[in-house]
């Protein structure tokens, strides 16, 4: 009797799965934002939970601990991005107002000539032929116009972003405050047979994920500090006129959370600032706007991070294969753009920890 039933049960389960997939496919566009918020909230909660637990131990009130920590972090973020954002905006505005398109075009032409002069003869001739008809003034105009258009599009998306940010903050407060009760309610749904092993699994996952994420944050902090020091050195030794170095350093640290692409992305603000600040400085043009200096500095910072800092703070326990990292970055980028890329690797890290633990459980299934 049982044998006759099995294929039917399998078919029933298959139909169930297909139906679930269809439902998810149709409702995904409506729930993708909520899923993204929940994923981010979970990551924030995992990172902040040890600090909230510690603070609760000191001040004896969990809600106060959650609010104090979040408002402290928010204050830092708002102050940081507020002050540097305003500075950056002012600099950009000043640049666009004062920029003498003719002079910039001349500078670019001069730089292009200086570069080609250093190249071997045959390449020089080819380049000269290709570039003789380029109208640099028109090109600079087009670039400035395209930047302005992108800023307008960005402002339109800012409204949605602020709303999502607000929701993320509210959910994070609730989850941080109710985390232990929430976990207990979830655990209560597990059957007696898997109860102990699930508790062990959850505790292991929490420990590993928290260690992995705090390790990543420590590594990012070290990259930020090293980049700030490096930029300061470039300013002091070569008089590079780089401003907003703390802002650039922090962006480099954050970008470092995205492996492979991050380190290069981290250089972009520094290079942009170097060009913005030195565009009308002939001495800087000689040094190619100090771009080589900046690139070398970032490569040194990366080497220090990869060989000294990361092995100590992140550890090799959650090492992910570079190909998996690339695939995760492509999927993350496709799903949610730069934010998706930022969260892709931590998410894969979390999934790896979960799968390692589940494999352990399956190996020890005789105890269930």
């Amino acid at each position: 009797m049982k044998e006759k039933k099995e294929p039917l049960v399998k078919l029933y389960r298959l139909i169930q799965l297909v139906l679930i997939a269809i439902v998810i496919y149709f409702i995904w566009p409506h729930i993708s934002n909520v899923v993204m918020i929940l994923a981010i909230v979970f990551l924030f909660t995992t990172i902040l939970l040890p600090a909230v637990d510690w603070l609760e131990g000191k001040i004896k009130s969990r809600i106060l601990a959650v609010l104090m920590l979040l408002f402290f972090l928010l204050a830092i973020i708002v102050l940081f991005f507020g002050s540097f954002g305003v500075n950056f905006y002012n600099e950009g505005k000043e640049f666009s107002q004062n920029i003498d398109k003719e002079k910039v075009a001349q500078t670019l032409e001069k730089m292009s000539q200086a570069t080609t002069a250093k190249l071997p003869g045959f390449i020089k001739e080819t380049i000269n032929e290709q570039t003789k008809d380029i109208d640099y003034t028109a090109r600079v105009g087009k670039i400035v116009q395209s930047i302005a258009e992108k800023f307008t599009a960005f402002a339109a998306k800012l409204g949605t972003f602020v709303f999502l940010l607000f929701m993320t903050l509210i959910f994070t407060i609730i989850l941080l405050y109710e985390y232990h009760n929430f976990k207990k309610s979830l655990v209560s749904l597990i059957s007696n047979r898997y109860f102990e092993i699930s508790l062990k699994l959850i505790s292991q996952i929490e420990k590993q994920v928290s260690g992995y994420l705090s390790g990543q944050l420590l590594a990012a902090t070290s990259v930020a500090i090293l980049s700030i020091l490096g930029l300061f050195l470039i300013n002091t030794l070569f008089d590079a006129n780089l401003s907003l170095i703390i802002f650039i350093g922090v962006i480099a640290g954050l970008a470092n959370l995205i492996p492979l692409i991050g380190p290069f992305a981290g250089m972009i603000p520094a290079i942009l600032i170097a060009i913005l600040n030195n565009i009308q400085n002939p001495a800087a043009v000689e040094h190619f706007f100090f771009i080589p200096h900046i690139i070398i500095m970032f490569i040194i910072v990366q080497q220090i991070d990869n060989n000294l800092v990361s092995p100590v703070v992140v550890g090799k326990s959650v090492g992910i294969h570079p190909i998996v990292v690339l695939i995760a970055l492509i999927i993350g980028g496709n799903l949610m753009g730069p934010i998706g890329m930022l969260f892709a690797v931590p998410t894969v890290g979390v999934m790896k920890v979960v799968f390692t633990e589940i494999r352990w459980v399956m190996k020890n299934a005789q105890y269930l």
Binding site: W54, G57, K184, S203, Y367, L368
Partner: protein, 170 residues
């Protein structure tokens, strides 16, 4: 003027009725000397589970995660379970507790625990104790001290028995 509405609203205000869970916890020496507030907090992190007759609470050699307190029913502590050599080492009754050593380490269980009848069992687990130590250190230390005192008593008891045994042999 007395209003029945207000009297009813504030009836029992500030007077929390002790739950069955707290009453059971009060019988366990590990939670001795805790304040009422601390008992309420322990109640929040403790897991209440229902077991059917012959259902395993944990199996022999499984990695230990925490201790259990019997609220209702009874539990057999068994070695070589589900084999011909199955031996019942002890039968635990309401208010008894077992598995407390796994609060200190995660060594495998030396015996299995099987529910004899429909039982309600409270579980207190190592990850929750570690959380408690982080969040409320003075409270967590109270529990650890009680646990150390129980283990100390048992060690003294074992030493005494070993002494008696040796003396008997001579």
């Amino acid at each position: 003027m007395k209003s029945p509405i207000w009297e009813n609203i504030f009836k029992g205000w500030n007077k929390e009725k002790e739950s069955d869970t707290v009453l059971t916890l009060k019988q366990v020496p590990i939670f001795a000397d805790l304040t009422e507030k601390e008992f309420t907090q322990i109640e929040k992190i403790i897991h209440k589970r229902n077991y059917k007759p012959k259902e395993f609470i944990f199996k022999e050699s499984a990695p230990g995660v925490g201790m259990y307190i019997i609220m209702k029913g009874s539990v057999d502590i068994v070695i070589n379970s589900s084999t011909e050599d199955e031996t019942i080492l002890a039968t635990m009754k309401e208010g008894n507790f077992f598995g407390e050593l796994t609060l200190l380490d995660e060594k495998p269980r030396s015996a299995a625990a099987v529910s004899r009848e429909n039982s309600v069992i409270l579980g207190f687990f190592r990850p929750d104790l570690l959380d408690l130590l982080k969040r409320k250190p003075s409270f967590g230390i109270k529990i650890l001290l009680n646990l150390a005192s129980i283990i100390g008593d048992r060690l003294r008891d074992t030493n005494e028995k070993l002494g008696n045994f040796r003396r008997g042999k001579k």
